[in-house]
Symmetry: C2
Amino acid sequence: MSAQFTTSDDRLPAYVRLRDTLASRIAKGEWTAEQPIPSEARLAEAYQVSVGTVRKAVDGLVNERLLERRQGSGTFVKAPSFDATLFRFFQLREADGSQLSIPSSKLILRSRSKAPEIAAAALGTTDTIKIVRLRSLSEVPVLFEEIYIPAEEFSGFETLDDADFGPLLYPLYFEKFGVLVKRATDDLSFGRASGQVAQQLRLENDAPLAVIQRTAFDIENKPVEWRIARGSAAKFRYRTEIT
Amino acid sequence: MSAQFTTSDDRLPAYVRLRDTLASRIAKGEWTAEQPIPSEARLAEAYQVSVGTVRKAVDGLVNERLLERRQGSGTFVKAPSFDATLFRFFQLREADGSQLSIPSSKLILRSRSKAPEIAAAALGTTDTIKIVRLRSLSEVPVLFEEIYIPAEEFSGFETLDDADFGPLLYPLYFEKFGVLVKRATDDLSFGRASGQVAQQLRLENDAPLAVIQRTAFDIENKPVEWRIARGSAAKFRYRTEIT
DNA sequence: TAGTGGTCTAGACCACCAC
DNA sequence: TGGTGGTCTAGACCACTAC
């Protein structure tokens, strides 16, 4: 039996194509975190490459933390630990810098909407769903977020029940739409409050504002979300690790 | 001819021992960045292992960014890549976000100094050397930096010639003191300008300020530098990748 | 004990670079 | 053209895990 690589430039090395193929199968949810993926020998046989090539493909996915090897028992899809991941994805802190905590969230708006230019450029489409949220720590509003996700990827998002929304969106993306956020780019800058933003955050007009623009990508490096978040500059703390 | 591994637990896999051995030879400065290290075939012959094992050892060092492969010409020690590394270590951008560039630097102060509490906590010592710099883009001051490094690690730093200082400190740390900055933690917040900071940055008192506090670590995860950098919030841009 | 990943070998051919 | 790293193969034996 000989399986096919997913469409991909066949000038690429076999191990790259196999890696992409496996990433795609993982993204499709073909394997759970409890069951091992096929053994290296089986994959080699199925895709008609040597075990060494399979190893190199799997190595890549292990480095990307999509897979996990367990000697003697098999190779497993690594369960997305959203708590940990989103801890790191959301690095706003209490003003004293003490405690990292996930802000609660109030949904203000959710509707099909034409993406503004900058979001459209990041996502590659103007056909999006817009989500507006106000996030609070201990009942105090700290962040005003406008989020755009591609309508095609998230079709049916408008019909979700409000109860489905927790404080975090990425688990929802994953559970309801199979979209796994793998990495993101944050762009930080400084601005001034006005209009709805000032009002929701209970700030005066022209109050100093921290602005975070994020583009989030899935396993296959496709942009799946663009958001802009604003909060009082005075209370703003952001920590990041550089390697 | 058969070279020896550096002392290391011989229960470890050959590729690990070879990696450690090569890392040690790199640290000793046995090869420059201009001359390739011995080819994979020669290393295999010298250490009496197969080329595949050499590849795996070298792969590790490439991942750690100690080595760099160049197809057709050889494998090179990656010391001079400070530009590239520091590109990432220093992610301030021109206000329009267009061009990443390394600001020039003017040395204002360099002296043995007792570290302030927060720096001492990060470094684990109060016995430090303090460096104050003003960094500019196109002649316009953009960042005011206060830097603390442990006096023990950097003994003789005070006696360095001003001419030794380029726009970047990390290459200097490496070349003169063998300290290789491997990762860092950045902590961002916003404040207000005052006193010397305002004056040097040509800002008005109370002008909004971006504040970056960084702790830098060496290969062995020992803190080797703490710094606080301040710049006009209005011109501030910081980009970071989250994975 | 059977099956898995972990290590290691000894080759092959290719793409690229410097001379 | 000769030497380098890049890819790939088809084996081998070992360490570990599950049953």
